[in-house]
């Protein structure tokens, strides 16, 4: 066996315990608190995703926000260079909104200020996350993946009405 200095051995034991605690905290937050990251929804063809009748992102922009039940919404946002469609969404305070995003061209990002919603938006894939809005206000959603020279202009707003 290998000779290990006792102080070094204690350090190894201590740091391993520390990492186990951190790791446990991450796992607990994911499973016990229902914490979410995107997971597979479906794989689609980006060439036809914006065609009317082919997918929810083909519907008229005004119909992409759907009320499923009182205070319960889903919204289908299409990302393309260099805009989100729709780029303005209004919901009443207290709403729970599920966001479905896909891209019809290159990769984009979607991060909604003031929430835990942050996801990559890829052509051919559907990204989905849900958040509840208890504070009225205007929240920006910003494209955070480089998508061409107009990338820095790509954003939208979610308006939570009192």
């Amino acid at each position: 066996m290998m000779h290990i200095d006792s102080r070094e051995r204690n350090f190894i034991i201590g740091t391993t315990i520390l990492l186990l605690i951190f790791g446990a905290a991450v796992l607990v937050s994911s499973f016990a608190f229902g914490f979410q990251v995107p997971a597979p929804v479906e794989r689609i063809d980006p060439k036809v995703v914006a065609t009317p009748g082919q997918s929810p992102w083909g519907d008229p922009v005004a119909e992409r926000l759907r009320e499923l039940a009182p205070n319960k919404y889903e919204v289908y946002i299409l990302a393309q260079a260099w805009a989100f469609q729709p780029n303005q969404i209004r919901v009443p305070v207290g709403s729970t909104v599920t966001f479905y995003l896909t891209s019809k061209d290159v990769q984009h990002g979607f991060r909604l200020d003031g929430t835990n919603i942050n996801m990559m938006v890829l052509p051919g894939e559907v990204s989905r996350l849900t958040a509840t809005f208890d504070e009225p206000g205007e929240y920006n959603f910003i494209c955070h993946e480089y998508c061409g020279v107009g990338h820095h202009t790509m954003y939208g707003q979610l308006i939570v009405e009192p």
Binding site: I4, E8, L27, R43, D105, V106, E125, V149
Partner: protein
């Protein structure tokens, strides 16, 4: 001694440094843009069309070219000097250099012509000129060939020295190169199967999700490919430069083997927010990523203990008095020691990035460039500067132009980087400011961001000055009329205790087999899942910039 290897190393380092000069020069310009000083329109005369073309140059030259050239050159040199055995197949190593240079030129031309403004991550379906992809692939292939030249030399040494334990520096250098060969299978698959045929128009569509998965298969271990050569210096050389010894040599060996084992099966931590990667596999990679902190923490203990031995040997006393007596007047030591401190901050931030949940807060925000300028931009780059302060004089056979300029360079880098990375980290954490973005003209940029952007820009300018000091010193050394009176030796740290490490720390097969098994377990199912649902539907987009 080893004149051929010296010349070869000089070429690798020279090309790498030219790349960093050009790539680095764009850094301060990016920072100025963020505070509203946009110099890019003035640069269209010299052929720079946009912030994003500049950012592509910055990313590719700094993090792909500078690192790879310096590393292959430095490790080839270190391997020979550690084994005290010249290269067995020098032609192979020269071929490596030439393939890498050809690849670099091939990739650089479309970038400079604005035909490849896709950043260094080239996520499809943004589609660059095929030459860009073929060129980058050749750089990787060239680095493989350089690795083969090292392995053959090492094998010859083993035959000539039966029963002798591999010297630490040589072992660590070969492990790093072996890890790189395995790790680059991902990028090779991405390029050869998906991207190159598609960019040549041979197939119509690409699967962006699968391409990202291949990219990050290599994209995480590549950061260890950058870091491990710095660790080679921190373990193998710096203790000697500090006037001490390596506290625990066997542990150092173990650390390099652990990095071989654990660097690769963690790439999904870059894809926590990807849509079509199942959550369960993200968790598996998160847990494996945590285990990867263990060898880094072992390094912190061992390297600091070695420095303490040096400080005490030089007369330092008390709990912290040994720090003051370290050789702070030696720029090679100072640069590397400051690099370690900056790297420690980067490591702490890395724990945040790796945390499955906290990642949501900072993913693709300015936090991320804040983080990696501490790691690859400082822990690695400033260490390489520190190495250059003894290695370039040795290669050129000329004394270092100025110790004083080199010391100023080290400290200005330290201060500039603290300012820049502090500003960037907070921008990302508190405000979610996106990275890879012309923040100076973004319509959503808020006035609250200004003070932090200014802090970061100030740091960026100090870093620019620091870079100029480095190049002044390199040019001053290479073009100096003086020659060295006595040859500089590569610093080699002695172990504190003479016990040789156990045989399992000098034995390749078990470690390589375990590495491959762990890769199959951690990546096999997710790759099978993605490939069996292959979605080759995305056409290329090459007119978006």
């Amino acid at each position: 001694m080893y004149a051929g290897t010296k010349k070869l190393t000089g070429w690798y380092l020279g090309v790498g440094m030219v790349a960093l000069f050009i790539g680095g020069a764009l850094g301060p310009l990016q920072k100025l843009e963020h505070v509203g000083i946009n110099v890019y329109p003035a640069l269209t005369n010299v052929g720079l069309n946009s912030y994003y073309q500049g950012l592509t140059i910055h990313g590719v030259l700094n993090v792909l070219v500078w690192t790879t050239f310096f590393i292959v050159g430095f490790l080839t040199f270190a391997n020979v000097h550690s084994l005290k055995r010249d290269l067995t197949h020098p032609k192979l190593n020269w071929a490596s250099l030439i393939i890498m240079i050809v690849g670099l030129v091939m990739a650089a031309v479309p970038v400079l012509l604005n035909l490849a403004t896709v950043l260094f991550t080239f996520y499809p379906p943004l589609m660059a000129s095929p030459y860009y992809y073929i060129g980058l692939t050749l750089v990787v292939i060239g680095s493989w060939v350089g690795g083969w030249g090292m392995f053959l030399t090492y094998r010859a040494w083993r035959k000539e020295n039966p029963g002798v334990q591999t010297p630490l520096i040589a072992l660590a250098s070969n492990i790093t190169m072996a890890m790189w060969q395995i790790a680059t299978v991902g990028i090779a698959a991405e390029m050869l199967w998906l991207i190159i045929p598609w960019s040549l128009g041979l197939v119509d569509g690409i699967d962006p999700q699968l391409a990202r998965t291949f990219f990050w298969f290599t994209g995480h271990p590549i950061v260890y490919f950058w870091l491990l050569p710095a660790y080679v210096a921190w373990y193998g050389m710096v203790p000697q430069q500090a006037g001490g010894k390596l506290f625990s040599e066997p542990m150092a060996r173990l650390v390099f083997w652990l990095f071989l084992l654990l660097s690769i099966p963690v790439g999904l931590h870059h894809q926590y927010l990807d849509p079509s990667v199942p959550q369960g596999w993200k968790v598996v990679h998160a847990v494996l990523t945590y285990s990867l902190f263990i060898p880094s923490l072992l390094t912190a203990f061992n390297v600091i203990a070695s420095l303490e031995l040096g400080g005490r040997a030089r007369g330092g006393t008390g709990l912290l008095g040994w720090i003051r007596t370290l050789p702070w007047d030696n720029p090679s030591f100072t640069a590397q020691n400051l690099a370690m401190i900056l790297f420690a901050f980067g490591g702490i931030g890395g724990l945040t990035n790796a945390s499955y949940n906290l990642n949501l807060v900072i993913h693709n925000t300015m936090w991320v460039p804040g983080h990696f300028h501490l790691t690859v931009g400082s822990g690695v780059t400033l260490t390489f500067f520190g190495i250059a302060y003894w290695l370039v004089p040795k290669l050129a056979n000329k004394p270092l132009f100025s110790n004083k300029v080199a010391l100023w360079q080290s400290w200005t880098w330290f201060v500039g980087m603290l300012l820049m990375s502090n500003g960037l980290h907070i921008l990302g954490l508190n405000f979610g400011s996106p990275r890879r973005t012309m923040l100076g003209v973004a319509p959503y940029a808020s006035a609250d961001w200004q003070p932090l952007l200014i802090e970061a820009a100030l740091g960026g300018i100090i870093l620019g000055v620091s870079g100029l000091l480095f190049y002044t010193n390199m040019l001053g050394t290479v073009f100096s009329k003086k020659t060295l009176t006595e040859e500089i030796e590569m610093p080699v740290a002695e172990p504190l205790e003479a016990h040789p490490a156990p045989a399992w720390l000098d034995s390749w097969r078990p470690w390589v087999v375990a590495t491959l098994v762990l890769i199959v377990v951690s990546y096999g199912p997710i790759l099978v899942y993605l490939i069996s649902n292959l979605n080759l539907t995305s056409p290329g987009f090459n007119k978006l910039w």
